[in-house]
């Protein structure tokens, strides 16, 4: 049960050592930097120190309660991340797969549109545009308000 914001890379396998042992179902999501058809060499991620960490903790705990999780982990990087590198991961452990899947999707929907991170594209010619929010990400979040 932990949330981390860091510049360093992380290793999914290492993070998952012993995670959810005792649970029946473990789901992980990893987001990676795409090259967008060769257009990009990296992403630069900025965040809101303080707010990020406390929101990640709060939403992790909320998901744990809502979906009866045995364990959860959120890791989100910032700084310059090159193509192919992991940007973030979410892992959830629960008794059954339904809860583990739903909790992971819930945390991802939340991270995409409520966690204070901003991405800027770094192209072959240097820094480019800030990535715009996808409307689909806002929509995704509203499905949990039931």
């Amino acid at each position: 049960m932990s949330a981390r914001v860091q510049t360093e890379a992380f290793d999914l396998g290492q993070e998952m050592q012993g995670f959810g042992s005792g649970s029946g179902a473990v789901v992980t999501f990893s987001g990676l930097v795409r090259d967008e058809g060769g257009r990009l060499v990296a992403l630069e991620l900025e965040h809101y120190p303080g707010m990020t960490e406390s929101l990640m903790e709060r939403y992790g705990r909320e998901a744990a309660e809502r979906f009866q999780l045995d364990d959860w982990r959120i890791i989100h990087r910032h700084g310059r991340l090159t193509v192919g590198e992991p940007i973030m991961m979410v892992a959830t452990a629960a008794r059954h797969r339904d809860a583990a899947f739903q909790a992971a999707e819930y945390l991802m929907d939340w991270l995409k549109s409520r966690a204070p991170f901003w991405k800027r594209e770094i192209g072959v010619d240097g820094p480019g545009e800030w990535v715009s929010a996808r409307e689909a990400d806002e929509d995704a979040l509203t499905r949990w308000d039931r």
């Binding site: 987001g31 991620l45 900025e46 965040h47 809101y48 303080g50 707010m51 406390s54 989100h76 940007i87 973030m88 991802m108 991270l111 995409k112 549109s113 409520r114 966690a115 204070p116 991170f117 901003w118 991405k119 800027r120 800030w130 990535v131 715009s132 929010a133 990400d137 806002e138």
Partner: protein, 83 residues
Amino acid sequence: MRLDVLYFAWLRERIGQPKERIETEAATVRDLVAQLIAMDEYHAAALSDLSAVRVAVDQELADLDTPLTGAREVAFFPPMTGG
């Protein structure tokens, strides 16, 4: 009162600094935005289209009507693009 006002991503770039201390009597976020826009063309440019701007008061997501009573930190930024 004195507020720390923070800017992120392209708002930070347009305003030219990540943080400034503002002396204000603004009752709400809306009042604060009006004061900032009146300061100079950079603030005006950054805060002209509020539909593209999100705000947090003391690190909690807020909106234009959120009161600033007792607030210490207000942040302006574009819609989040984490994950």
